[in-house]
Amino acid sequence: MNSSVISVSELVTMFGQSVIHDGVNLSVRRGEIYGLLGGSGSGKSTLLKEMIMLLRPASGEIRVLDKDLSTLSVDEAAQLRRRWGVLFQGGALYSSLTVEENIGIGLKEYTDLPVTLIREIVQIKIEMVGLPATAARLYPAELSGGMIKRVALARALSMDPELLFLDEPTSGLDPVGAEEFDKLILELRDILGLTIVMVTHDLDSIWTVVDRLAVLGEKKVVAEGSLTDVLANQHPIVGQFFKGARGRIRSQHGK
């Protein structure tokens, strides 16, 4: 079996006439935390959406968990979808369901576990992502921005998927919350062997949790590899990204 969980090759994406990706190549290995970086509008969320079959690329191949996404049957697609969890940039919680129902909906629909147990699992996830237990009964409209992120994460984790896609999970969290989040991600990866693809601008996360990363720019991947590899890259976009003031402070402090 191929050790890469996701491989994207020669991907081209267009919205009407505007080209967003023009020949993107990257691969994510099993069990790693993979960072997707790039400026605003560089097409990170779009790339993520293509990996989870919400968008079809204009051309190119995407393989996820050893399946070619362009040739899947409806059943295969449905099965594949259950093997990953997604945290959307804006949360995308179901606004008519409570926090508890949002998190438990996968368990409720796809398993026959007793209701009490589902509630318990949901309660654990709520605690895990650092929400107060009282949040369970609230509706998404009654949550703060950071709480929405946490609920979305809990929902993405609810089925313990082998593959996790996170679009800016720590944006909108306070620094303490972001650090706890990073710890949780690492712990889950170590215990459950998850593979995680995350879009992030958070330099702390990039330093502490990301194993390998790709920097998107100029419609391509301008650098891919471990942080040291990427930092060694001379491409100006990479330079801007890491050698700006904030990046410098962080690299002085080291890991």
Binding site: R82, T111, P140
Partner: protein, 383 residues
């Protein structure tokens, strides 16, 4: 001995002759493979208390958090039933996962609501609904007050009136509604003429069809039918438009930038509809009478000239005016209710649908109630 065979997760329990109990779990304890295990453990928990249990774990390949939560759930339950449990052969992953979940498990569990509370639930609901109804009315009055203040402001500062928006709403609510208003009022004219013709023919009083059509259409039917069409078409769209703006925080953004929502969103809509509806009613009058004339000609052999002559003598112009004058009142009700319900939309997608429905139902009810009030007033006044 009881056992079950799940897809992958499995548990067997076994009571030996000397009374010691062994639970043996195996397979992969992951979320999609747990269903039967839960059922078997449920039985075990019912059966055993104050027992000594050996739980053999070494054959479990893997846990995910659902699997571990299930393990902890039944483990805790057996412990509370005074069982002594010895765990054998827990893997490293078992221990890691166990520690991870333990950290996040809540000790106190809120009990289910008591039975007496559930029996009282209907009363509780009635009470809540009544309070909500009163609050609704208060909120509507507050809304009306607020829009009246911005109306006064507009009167004192005519330059602040959003002419462009008014024109846009007139086009949306008026010009685009012409086809449907024409169609409905034509059909109403046809129905009245047909029904009337059948009855009047019996008495040979064919010519009175003109009185009937002329009066009923202009005074009652055209205003009412047009208002109902407009409530369904425009009232609902006002609610949905404002509701979406509420959900996307646009209304808050407008407030912070100093654009009073009442001045920018509500007044133009109310003005536009108050101008549009009387015009639409006049249009409906024409089409309705035309339809009646057409049917009378076909059915009662009444020539167009006869119809016109009779119409001129029986249809005093005040009847037409009365019908048209109802327009602004109906329009105000429809637009105010539509905007009010739009502002009530809360941040979830269900509520748009709920409030849009409410806005149409309320508007139609209020229009009919208002029409009844007019009838009483006009009768008392003798007009």
């Amino acid at each position: 001995m009881t056992s079950c065979q799940a897809d992958a997760a499995n548990i067997v329990f076994d009571k030996s002759t000397d009374g010691s109990i062994t639970l043996t779990s195996s397979g992969s304890w992951t979320v999609n493979a747990l269903d039967n295990v839960a059922a078997v453990l449920e039985q075990a928990v019912k059966k055993y208390s104050h027992d000594i249990i050996c739980w053999e774990l070494s054959a479990v390949e893997r846990y995910d958090s659902a699997g571990m939560a299930l393990f902890i759930h039944y483990y805790d339950q057996l412990i509370t039933q005074q069982c002594a449990i010895e765990l054998i052969g827990a893997t490293q992953q078992h221990q890691d996962m166990y520690r991870l979940l333990r950290r996040y498990i809540q000790e106190d569990k809120t009990p289910a609501p008591a039975l007496s509370f559930r029996l009282l639930q209907p009363l509780h609901n009635i009470g809540k609904a009544s309070v909500a109804f009163v609050q609704d009315i208060m909120a509507f009055l507050a809304f009306v007050g607020e829009s009246f203040i911005s109306f006064l402001y507009a009167v004192r500062h005519p330059g602040s009136i959003r002419g462009g928006a008014i024109v846009k709403h007139i086009e949306e609510a008026g010009v685009r509604a012409l086809p449907i208003v024409a169609l409905t009022s034509f059909l109403i004219g046809v129905v009245i003429a047909y029904q009337g013709a059948v009855q009047l023919e019996k008495f040979g009083a064919n010519i009175f069809i003109v009185d009937m059509i002329g009066l009923s259409i202009t005074r009652e039917l055209a205003p009412l039918i047009t208002a109902i069409v407009v409530a369904g078409r425009t009232g609902s769209s006002y609610t949905a438009q404002l509701g979406v703006m509420k959900i996307t925080d646009e209304i808050d953004a407008m407030r912070t930038m100093g654009f009073e929502p009442h001045r920018f969103l509500v007044l133009p809509r109310i003005f536009a509809l108050m101008i549009t509806l009387p015009l639409l009613i006049f249009f409906a009058d024409l089409i309705g009478i035309l339809a009646g004339m057409f049917i009378s000609h076909l059915h009662l052999n009444l020539s167009y000239t006869e119809f016109f002559n009779r119409l001129q003598t029986v249809l005093e112009v005040k009847h037409v005016w009365i019908g048209i004058l109802k327009g602004p009142f109906f329009a105000w009700l429809i637009a105010a209710v539509g905007c009010f319900r739009g502002f009530q939309v809360s941040k979830n997608t269900d509520s748009i649908g709920r409030y849009t429905t409410m806005s149409v139902v309320n508007a139609i009810f209020l229009v009919i109630a208002c029409d009844a009030l007019f009838s009483v007033i006009f009768t008392e006044l003798g007009i």
